[in-house]
Amino acid sequence: MRNGIFIILVATILSSCGGYKLVNKGKEIEVGNSMFTTPFNDWNSSKDGDVVLWTMDGPMLQQIIFVKGAEDGDYLIPVRVNGTHTLDKKVPKFKKDMTSIEVVELFESTFKRLGAQNLEISNVRPYEAAKTKGFRFEFGFLTKDGLAKSGSTYGILKNKRLFMVIYSGANIHYYDKGKEDFEGIVRSLRIL
């Protein structure tokens, strides 16, 4: 994770990060680091370093970010300064002593640094998936240009590592389009 750096903000959370590979529906896939899931629909996957992004219609419209076992001192999502290669050192890092409450705080700070405006987090609650007690929350924000987006997140703290699946999409059409599949992806998670 420390050396896996990418992610550029272009008026939304993530933009394209290289070539895409098709993720076939109905088949279990290892997202990485022993994190498995099974999507109901076809998705397009892009990978750079340790961060994996899935989208159906383009990351500006909807996306799933997989955080595959961040360790102590890792960024939740590495953020670059104004689309350059320089890491934004003001982004806080994951610490192994964090609770779910502090991970939510980490998420909030990271997304704000990525450019999310008026970020509101709601319904922070326990949630069990991958046979592990985790937590969930919803969020909403505006892009710099004022596009309204919503999101839903599932997180697990396991063996002092952080696993998260972060879904977000434009309120108009695209969030709803991928939401049901996101729920299926969360329910089918396996972390070995």
Binding site: K90, P92, K95, D97, T99, S100, I101, E102, E108, S109, K112, R113, Q117, N118, S122, N123, V124, R125, P126, K133, F135, F141, L142, T143, K144, D145, G146, L147
Partner: protein
């Protein structure tokens, strides 16, 4: 956008007293011309020190469509469309109405020419654009102590507008740029599709660099409008004093913000504005507008402080919190955020400082509802499992219906396993 025609203020650097003497006349000029202060010298003398002779805008004045200024306005109008829908625009009506009322109190007959956009940016800044678009950042609202201090900065920005400083800079740029760029601009002014080139030139930041004399003159206007608006003129220098304190606490003092070397040194403006305030004539009973300011800003302050913490400039935030604590409004909230700052900073000894601040917040009464939760998190990190559990239980006891109750119970259960 940030580099776009900025006249936002406030550079932080070492004091140069001799320069202060030489430049004082530039600050004085608007006040002398409007008979707000008496000149210590003859008017002809001050006129010679005036930086340029461009005419001020008149109320409701629009540039002639064939003019260079019209091209400048057109390019900025495009930017203004983005401001209208920007995700970080603060739409709170009460706040917008309040700030607008201050702008109108200062700008008077120019009031309808100025459109304000309050932007959620946790930095000390406001900026004025040549077509009357004014940006005000929430970091300024957090840092001003009262209405008069906010009016100082707004008056400064209005000064830039009235004196058409953007146009002056634009002309200066054109005079020094190469012929190709000149041609592009000429085409743009003529309506040819070279407007994008103007945008590029503007975005390059050349126009952002209001000269120091422009800033000094705008400071003079700020003081003039402050006095004519019935505000205490001594508040003008006080906001600079606060900014100097905060800046000096910043470990990146040499490059503290977007305000760069185009601005007069804060020490200079603090001293000159204080001197000039003592010479201002006003028949009205002046006000600082402290109560009005608090009634509007305090309900929003927690969100401004949260944004401030997300900047993770902990040294300057620590000093800012000290300044706000000295001001004395809602101390419980301020000590809570001081605790938050230490908890997030994670330097050696910070957890103890965080706990002390949280407890101070509690002792002052009416703390934020999450204070016991934050104490629990800090104690847990210190390894005090029992203390953490007790605090988290206290949080749930006092706030039985909180949304995060489930995960708090989960944390308590995990600590018992």
């Amino acid at each position: 956008m940030r580099v776009f025609l900025k006249c936002g203020c406030f550079c932080f650097a070492a004091v140069v007293l001799t320069a202060c003497q030489m430049n004082k006349a530039v600050y004085e000029r608007p006040l002398i011309d409007n008979d707000i202060i008496l000149s210590s010298e003859s008017k002809s003398s001050t006129s010679e020190s005036y930086p340029y002779s461009i005419a001020s805008l008149q109320p409701q004045q629009r540039p002639d469509v064939s003019s260079l200024e019209a091209g400048l306005w057109m390019s900025v109008e495009k930017a203004e469309k983005k401001s209208q829908t920007a995700g970080n625009r603060v739409t709170d009506k009460k706040l917008n109405d309040y700030v607008r009322s201050i702008v109108c109190r200062l700008a008077k007959e120019y009031c309808q020419d100025i459109r304000i956009y309050i932007m959620r940016v946790p930095m000390f800044n406001a900026s004025m654009y040549p077509n009357g678009m004014m940006h005000i950042w929430t970091g300024l609202l957090l840092r001003a102590r009262n209405e008069a201090q906010l009016a100082t900065v707004l008056g400064h920005e209005i000064g830039h507008y009235l004196r058409r400083h953007s146009l002056q800079r634009f002309k200066t740029y054109m005079n020094t740029s190469n012929s190709l760029i000149f041609a592009q601009m000429a085409l743009a002014v003529a309506g040819a599709p070279a407007v994008g080139d103007i945008m590029n030139i503007v975005a390059r930041g050349s126009l952002a660099a209001f000269s120091r004399d422009h800033e000094r003159e705008a400071d003079g206007y700020g003081l003039l409008l402050l006095a004519k608006g019935g505000y205490d003129p001594f508040e003008a220098s006080k906001i600079w004093k606060r900014s100097i304190r905060e800046a000096k606490a910043d470990k990146k003092y040499s490059s503290p913000s977007i305000f760069n070397s185009t601005h007069p040194q804060s020490e200079e403006r603090m001293k000159v504005l204080n001197d000039l305030a003592g010479r201002v004539w006003t028949d009205e009973t002046v006000t600082t507008g402290l109560d009005e300011y608090k009634s509007v800003i305090l309900p929003l302050r927690a969100s401004f402080l949260r944004d401030e913490l997300d900047q993770r400039n902990f040294s300057s935030t620590e000093e800012l919190l000290e300044i706000l604590i000295e001001d004395g409004a809602n101390l419980s909230e301020l000590h809570f955020f001081k605790g938050e700052m230490y908890r997030l900073r994670r330097k050696k000894g910070d957890l103890d400082k965080a706990l002390n601040s949280y407890r101070e917040s509690l002792a002052l009464g009416n703390p934020p509802s999450v204070v016991h939760r934050q104490i629990g998190l800090a104690l847990r990190r210190q390894g005090d499992a029992q203390g953490a559990k007790d605090s988290l239980k206290k949080y749930l006891e006092l706030n039985p219906d909180v949304e995060d109750a489930g995960v708090i119970r989960q944390i308590i259960e995990e600590s018992e396993e």
